[in-house]
């Protein structure tokens, strides 16, 4: 190999390998998650037909008659393995079926919930990253300095505040007293700000911490000191050496946090009446809406795989050092 160029290209081999591995993983996840979901729902106590009827007709009108209608209509009397095979067959044909409760197409409902959750998570992540990474980098410039200490305080403060409480405080301040933002709801322009900010506050503390530690550590590293010694300006050292190396750690961290965000925002979603995936999953489980549970769980599982793939590819792009010995020539 010659001398490495200034902007190293990502070698095609590792990229293909990552994609191949993740595709296999995705297939295994689909099979495993579907079967596990099905088995868990079947083993939950309570009559499924009654639960579905409660979801469909509301608690004033769920009766034995409506439960019987549901049972007959959905063929809930059939053996469980037959129902599972049907579902897997439909899935192979990329048909997610219709919701047992609302009668609407699961794919359509899932699309709505997934996109609202992704929007919320992305907005929260953007705010958190902007605030957290900036603060962390600044704090790392003078470890032990005043900014560093404020960041530490912020981290513990933000983490110890439950999102539910924080959300209420934000609504009280920004909606009730200042009247600048709608308190809750979905669909209007300003609706996303408060839930995203609620999620971002806790997350920004973590990002600040991780960024600060990583940046501080890299600043101490020999290559950074060498870069400075060879005469590179502080700005160039930061951009070319510190930021890029910190990026690898931050990116992996970002992936994990995004997953936690999407899967863990039930409380915030319910406080702000945001129709997201968490909200959908809780309702679906409560009503035993099997196709909806299966589809939601699958979407979440595949999201994990997809995000991991993206993080891997991103890390490959940022850090071109080969990961396997045989690639080294």
């Amino acid at each position: 190999m010659g001398i490495s160029s200034a902007t190293p290209r990502i070698p095609a081999g590792p990229v293909l390998r990552v994609i191949r591995q993740r595709a296999l993983q995705a297939a295994a996840v689909v099979l495993l998650v579907s079967t596990a979901c099905f088995a868990i729902i079947q083993s939950l106590p309570g009559d499924i037909a009654f639960r579905i009827a409660a979801g469909r007709y509301g608690y004033d009108q769920v009766t034995a008659a409506s439960a019987d209608t549901v049972r007959a209509e959905l063929g809930l009397d059939r053996p469980a393995w037959q129902q599972l095979l049907d579902w897997l067959g439909d899935l192979a044909a990329l048909d997610l079926g219709t919701s047992l409760v609302t009668g609407a197409s699961v794919a359509g409902e899932l699309g709505l919930y997934l996109s609202s959750s992704l929007q919320l998570a992305a907005a929260a992540l953007a705010i958190a990253l902007l605030v957290g990474a900036t603060a962390g980098t600044l704090a790392a410039s003078r470890p032990g300095g005043i900014l560093d200490r404020i960041t530490t305080l912020w981290v513990s403060g933000a983490r110890s505040l439950p999102p539910f409480l924080l959300g209420l405080v934000l609504i009280l301040v920004l909606s009730v007293h200042l009247g600048v933002l709608p308190a809750a709801g979905h669909g209007a322009a300003g609706n996303i700000v408060l839930p995203a900010a609620t999620l971002a506050v806790g997350l920004s503390g973590l990002f600040a911490r991780v960024t600060r530690d990583t940046v501080a550590q890299i600043r101490q590293s020999e290559y950074v000191r060498f870069a400075a010694t060879k005469g590179l300006g502080a700005r160039l050292v930061f951009l070319r050496h510190v930021l890029r190396n910190a990026g690898v750690t931050l990116l992996s961290y970002l992936g994990v946090q995004l997953l936690i965000l999407i899967e863990g925002v039930v409380v915030v979603e319910s406080l702000f009446a945001w129709p997201g995936l968490g909200h959908a999953l809780v309702h679906a489980i409560f009503w035993r809406d099997l196709p909806m549970i299966q589809a939601t769980a699958l979407a979440l599982a595949l999201l994990v795989v997809a995000l991991n793939t993206l993080v891997d590819l991103g890390a490959l792009a940022l850090d071109p050092r080969p990961r396997r010995r045989e690639v080294v020539l």
């Binding site: 469909r56 608690y59 009766t63 300003g190 700000v193 406080l271």
Partner: protein
């Protein structure tokens, strides 16, 4: 750091543009917030959503006291034998897609409604529903006096033929009311616009947005921040707080809905009427209403609340808290305190399970209050909070001992229809269990076949009396519906039957 976060939020807030209170009243739609999510468009399962929003109409309407009024039908007449009913359809009525409301379209909608299990129309002895010129004609197998009331139930709302898909599932909601659906985003948002060709008086407020919010704290804050103009489903604590703050108006009305304990009268312990009476006497309804519902007047003294004036009997002996009387009755029934204070009989402990569900937030709290009160008289009560369907499921498999829920006796404006189902000889999921009273059954039968006011009146008195002494269900509390109204709007009057929110009668405050 804090500053950076605050700055980020402020920037976003500024970008968001539309502040909650920044626009003058008429430029933004009326925002209605409630706890109900829209999960289905079908009239049988949408729970009256579209009649409340005045998008769809029923043939028969009801006024604020529950008296039947013409709706999509201009009136009704019955053949002398009571087997054929005719409802002339309002001749100039139009669906929101511009087609006229014909008797044939009404018959189609009702014939679809009839097939839905668990709805009141499915229990009426109908032989045929058909169009007869400009009339809707209903033929019955036997006389059924409350038919007109059943046709006021929200599950019988009339949707246009274009609402239905090929297999008669409802795909869009095209009604004939003063508002039409502009946009639907299930499960939480519905946008309405006034229907220009509506023949009745035009709504003063032409645009309405309904937004579902699951948590009562969120709803309270939406009301407080001015985001919501009319807010339903307030929890007692938030309501009290908003009342004390005094900035918003609270409209309220008592509903014909009662929170009650369903008792399995076929149960070895609870089958004894003395035991049921003792349970009732052990309950301190006044304290529960005051402390939990924050509304002392809601302590039930009988099954039917004053909002059902025809059924509520002022003269009847009220149910009252009497723990010593309860102990005496239990002793009379053979129950003696054991070493741990729990009552025993022939080595069997008085231990029963109560099932309830959290859809109405006060139910689990009331359940624990019941548990505490029963413990005072030596009854061990196990409270299980689960899904609403466990009550009908427990009724069917016979495993239910006690169930706590709220029952609305006027979903069909004539309470007789609900009562005939609930307290018939076989009992019902939300009515009696293992309990049968021939006198009550024959009274209900007689009342269903007559329109004579004297017979009906004495029948109601008799039914109230039997239910009060036999206690197949034990009333706990009545229900008050409240709505928080912003100063921007005026004219909200709540409907005790919860059929309509009467948004068309609202106007912007001057």
């Amino acid at each position: 750091m804090l500053g950076a976060a605050a700055a980020a939020i402020t920037v976003l807030a500024a970008c968001a543009g539309e502040g909650a209170q920044s626009l003058p009243s008429p430029e933004r739609p009326l925002t209605v917030v409630g706890q109900f999510e829209l999960h289905s468009l079908d009239p049988s399962t949408s729970g009256g959503f579209f009649t409340r929003l005045q998008v769809a109409e029923t043939l028969v309407d009801a006024d604020l006291r529950g008296a039947l009024q013409p709706g999509l039908a201009t009136g009704w007449e019955t053949s002398p034998d009571g087997l054929t009913w005719r409802f002339p359809v309002r001749p100039d009525a139009l669906f929101h897609d511009g087609t006229s409301v014909t008797a044939a379209a009404v018959a189609d909608a009702l014939n679809t409604a009839r097939t839905k299990a668990g709805t009141p129309l499915a229990t009426v002895p109908v032989t045929a529903i058909s169009a007869d010129g400009g009339n809707l004609r209903v033929d019955l197998a036997k006389p059924f006096a409350p038919l007109a009331a059943v046709l006021a139930h929200t599950s019988t709302q009339i949707l246009a033929p274009s609402s239905y898909g090929p297999d008669r599932t409802v795909t869009t909601v095209v009604g004939s009311g003063p508002y039409r659906v502009e946009r639907l985003e299930q499960p939480a948002t519905v946008e309405l616009t006034a229907f220009e060709q509506w023949q009745g008086s035009k709504p003063a407020i032409t645009e309405v947005v309904y937004q579902a919010a699951g948590r009562s704290e969120s709803r309270a804050l939406m009301a407080e921040s001015g985001q919501a103009d009319v807010t339903f489903g307030m929890d007692p604590t938030s309501l009290q707080r908003l009342k004390q703050a005094g900035k918003l108006t609270i409209a309220d009305v008592t509903l014909p809905r009662t929170i009650l304990l369903k008792v399995n009268a076929g149960h070895a312990i609870l089958g004894d009427v003395r035991v049921r009476r003792a349970l009732s006497m052990a309950l301190d309804r006044d304290s529960m209403a005051t402390a939990l519902l924050r509304d002392p007047e809601m302590a039930a003294t009988q099954l039917f609340p004053p909002s059902l004036p025809e059924w509520h009997q002022d003269a009847i002996t009220p149910l009252a808290h009497d723990p010593s009387g309860a102990r005496e009755l239990l002793a009379e029934a053979g129950w003696r305190p054991g070493s741990d204070g729990i009552l025993e009989q022939d080595g069997r402990k008085f231990s029963v399970t109560l099932r309830t569900f959290p859809d109405r937030p006060e139910l689990p709290i009331i359940a624990t209050a019941v548990q505490a009160k029963l413990k005072e008289v030596g009854i061990a009560l196990d409270v299980k909070v689960g899904n609403s369907s466990e009550i009908p499921a427990g009724h069917q498999d016979g495993s239910l001992e006690l169930g706590l829920y709220a029952r609305n006796y006027a979903l069909v404006p004539d309470a007789l229809v609900t009562l005939a189902g609930d307290f018939g000889p076989d009992g019902a999921d939300y009515g009696a269990m293992g309990w049968n009273n021939t006198e009550l059954t024959s009274t209900l039968d007689t009342m269903a076949g007559t329109a004579d006011p004297d017979v009906l009146n004495s029948g109601r008195q008799q039914i109230t009396r039997i239910l009060q002494s036999e206690l197949p269900v034990i009333p706990v509390a009545w229900y008050r519906q409240s709505a928080v109204v912003s100063p921007r709007v005026q004219g909200l009057v709540l409907d005790p039957l919860e059929r309509s929110w009467r948004l068309a009668d609202l106007s912007w405050a001057k």
